[in-house]
Symmetry: C2
Subunit: 522 residues, 2 copies
């Protein structure tokens, strides 16, 4: 049922060079071979996106919303076929992938609602004051318009929710941008299935076919060509720090630089405050091990660094962590490359003198075995490499002399997606001193929970200062993600006959700012 072809604006296109999808658990090549997209494929996809852009952007918002909902329906309809292929290619378990499909269609529908809400258009009207002295005030009206075609890079660790029809694509479409996806080579079959669902939706909703293309391949040159194409106006990426930095470099070096929204690297510090730790060392240990080993630790928000003040409770906590680890099975990792990088990352932590707290069970060569280490605050500060992300089920417990050392370590950290405080009421005063540091370092601050798990909602920030992302002013999850692909345009004295409808005087169900006042009904 899979063709192995790329999809260029509605046309399935073969190629002369191919690559294989791999069964994550066995390492065996999967059928069919996948066409490696050429420079011409990329150029044609971008040209089609640019050609479709004005028509797509000009559609009534109700039609844009209907298209997003239809894509969700078509993905739902893929059902078990999609789950089974994604399981083979990613090694992720069935329940997780069914859940991820639910999240993927859920966020498409959430963005459909958001499109119709319309407040993201940033509508503002300042009426003229023809009699103002010394000069008359003109009529000015503002709205946000789409940036233009967006290049989206699929992520390996969410083959559905951060891939072909994932959050970047959904938010770019919601903003009115056509999308060219560079599929992740670890799951080309999953990508093709989703692309097929999208194509059905495009035809049924009568969208311009350039609204979506999918190019697959394993060469860095493919992504480079996409980012360098002059018709691409912005980039969405989730992946490694090296990959994100490379795309940022290409985007900045273009004759016309473009924004890159790269979500790259985070160790997601978790602080166990003393009073909370004293009352719940054992349950915290169990939850910590559960969070760090979830999905073989292959989450952007994996708790890679845990900070606690040395105490009897901390000793108890570490003991309980060691025990809890014993029950954690090794899990198949997404790719052989990720597995091998994980093994090297573990070896580097050991080399830097961290003490092993415990490990999970051993598994096959394709698996990631859970590891937890501990170091003193002083050692951690002396070895900055310990603060780098190791993608997989590993974490380091840093035992600090006092809360001041916890604060100093947090202050010295790079930008993070999340920072977490576990605390009892008696910890609040100390927590209050840490909060400004955490705000400065992270996009999301979590109390008494674990960072894995990212709610797709309005108030979510899945972003954070560099290098957690390339642009800490943005989020890649939640409705605010639409803002990444918009820019404001102002219309001065434009006759009503030529104004966008949303900017006309009269009642409006959409939030607007009129003469400085926000109004839900104009």
């Amino acid at each position: 049922m899979l063709t192995g072809k790329n999809m260029i604006a509605g046309v399935w296109r073969a190629a002369t060079e191919h690559f294989s999808a791999v069964d994550a658990a066995s390492g065996a090549a999967l059928e069919p071979a996948f066409a490696h997209a050429t420079a011409q494929d990329v150029a044609d996809a971008c040209a089609a996106a640019a050609a479709a852009q004005p028509a797509y952007a000009a559609l009534p918002l109700s039609r844009r919303a209907a298209f997003l909902r239809l894509v969700a329906d078509k993905i739902d309809a893929l059902g078990d076929t999609l789950t089974q292929r994604a399981m083979q290619e990613s090694g992720l378990p069935e329940a997780r992938l069914n859940g991820e499909r639910g999240r993927t269609v859920g966020q498409l529908r959430l963005f459909a609602d958001e499109v119709e809400n319309g407040a993201w258009q940033g509508l503002r009207i300042d009426h003229a004051q023809p009699d103002r002295a010394p000069l008359p005030k003109p009529d000015l009206r503002m709205r946000n318009i789409p940036l233009g075609p967006v290049a989206v890079f699929g992520a390996s660790n969410f083959p559905l929710a951060f891939s072909v029809a994932g959050g970047d694509t959904a938010s770019a479409w919601a903003a009115g941008c056509c999308v060219v996806v560079k599929g992740h080579p670890a799951h080309p079959g999953t990508s093709e299935l989703v692309a097929g669902a999208i194509l059905e939706a495009i035809r049924e909703a009568e969208m311009p076919e350039g609204v979506f293309s999918l190019v697959n391949g394993t060469a860095n040159a493919l992504g480079e060509a996409l980012v360098n194409d002059p018709r691409i106006a912005a980039v969405g990426f989730t992946g490694s720090r090296a990959g994100g930095l490379a795309l940022m470099g290409h985007a900045a070096a273009r004759p016309v630089p473009i924004p890159v929204y790269a979500e790259m690297s985070s160790v997601n510090p978790v602080v166990l405050m003393p009073h909370r730790l004293a009352e719940a060392a054992e349950s915290l240990a169990a939850a910590y091990v559960g969070s760090l080993s979830l999905g073989a630790g292959q989450f952007c928000t994996n708790p890679g660094i845990l900070l606690a003040v040395e105490s009897e409770a901390t000793t108890r906590f570490i003991g309980s962590v060691a025990e809890a680890l014993e029950g954690i099975p090794a899990q198949t990792m997404l790719t052989a490359g990720i597995q091998s990088a994980y093994t090297k990352g573990i070896a580097a932590i050991v080399e830097q003198g961290a003490t092993m707290v415990g490990t999970g069970a051993e598994g096959s060569a394709a698996c990631g075995r859970a590891h937890v280490f501990t170091v003193s605050g002083a050692s951690f500060r002396a070895n900055p490499a310990l603060g780098h992300e190791v993608f997989g089920p590993s974490s380091i417990i840093v035992t600090c002399a006092d809360i001041g050392e916890v604060a100093a370590i947090l202050e010295g950290m790079e930008g993070q997606l999340t920072a977490t405080l576990h605390m009892a009421q008696a910890d609040y005063d100390a927590a209050r001193t840490l909060l400004p540091i955490l705000e400065n370092r992270a996009g999301r601050i979590i109390a008494n929970a674990w960072p894995t798990g990212v709610e797709v909602t309005h108030a979510m920030v899945h972003g954070g200062p560099f290098p957690a992302t390339s642009d800490g002013r943005s989020t890649s999850v939640g409705t605010l993600a639409i803002a990444r692909f918009l820019r404001p345009v102002s219309y001065q004295d434009l006759p009503a006959a030529l104004l966008p409808k949303a900017l006309l005087d009269g009642p409006s169900a959409v939030l607007r700012r009129i003469d400085g006042r926000y109004q839900v009904q104009g």
Copy 2:
């Protein structure tokens, strides 16, 4: 009364190297000599800004607003002293500088109101759903926080409104960011007077002194040091394309890249639609010449390119332009460097074979003489250099074969701050086809007016696609400019005792989005 010193967080500091301010009209050096800031001065200013940042950001919004208003009052109080010094240093006339002072204090007061409006905080609350299956939904609350200390580069052409206490500084302060200004070396005395006013306001309002520093100098290394300082979180700049590109390069190459908001270069195309031109060739010609020569043409929004379809009316228009130019006196330019670049720019237009339509009166060597040229659409398209900004009172009339050629030329243009249509009702259908092209190319679309003149209000966009600015997602004028210096943070399940007050449940006068609904009163 001037000291010639830099101002580092409340302390006037001397230096061993100096440079001179110059009387723009006579070229004579002005007293006193000005201290050239050292690398240490820059580092100390940035350190003070970083140290003051948490305290300034944490102040109640009412105090932040009161500070902005006090700065406005103190600048008003400088009165004629400020105008006289700015006249000497910039060569701009008295009425213009008094007007510019009004705009400067007006925008400080507008941003004070905006601070108190509070909607820019982007407050969102998503309440928990503890009973949701399969997983409970956490409580999530979002707000925008300041990016951190901002480096502002003063512009030569607005010694007040785009300089020490100009729009970049006002919007950064409004966002809660401390500011280090690199003063423009063409008006260091004006800068010092404004810095003195700011210092009085800082003391009277009891602000942390690191909220503002001013460093002066003529070396590129000074600006480089400022952009490279690890404590600087964002950059605001108005100036040349070369200068902006250099700062973008430094910012992108930092270990932690930061956003640069550079407003650089624009030729602001103006289209005279056929029916409008036929009915008003003479009055359009007079207004055009007035706009292009205003302030010796030293405006970012100067109408550098005018497009019209060949016709009898176009011939009449060009004749009237030639006549109107005769009455335009030469005007002192801001600096000898700008005057000399203008002369070279005019020579380059002549070299590229443009036909001279006419010139204004000749003046002294320090003056810019108005020039208007004309070329055919075909010549313009064959000589892309004709589309580059020449900063000063010059403009090129491009006569096109038909409206299709007008559209093609607009499509081929770089990003612009503004694009203008002069049209009668009979031109609307043709205008409708041009509007999507203009939206794609410019930040502001103007009907039946001239681009010079930028209203400071809510719906203004003074921005636009590269190279008009480095970041077309932003505006440097109007209340939306505050958004440049903010980033969102999300709080998950944070106890009410630790939440920012603005995010607590209960009534609120500030716009918030609660469970997806925008509410002016919670």
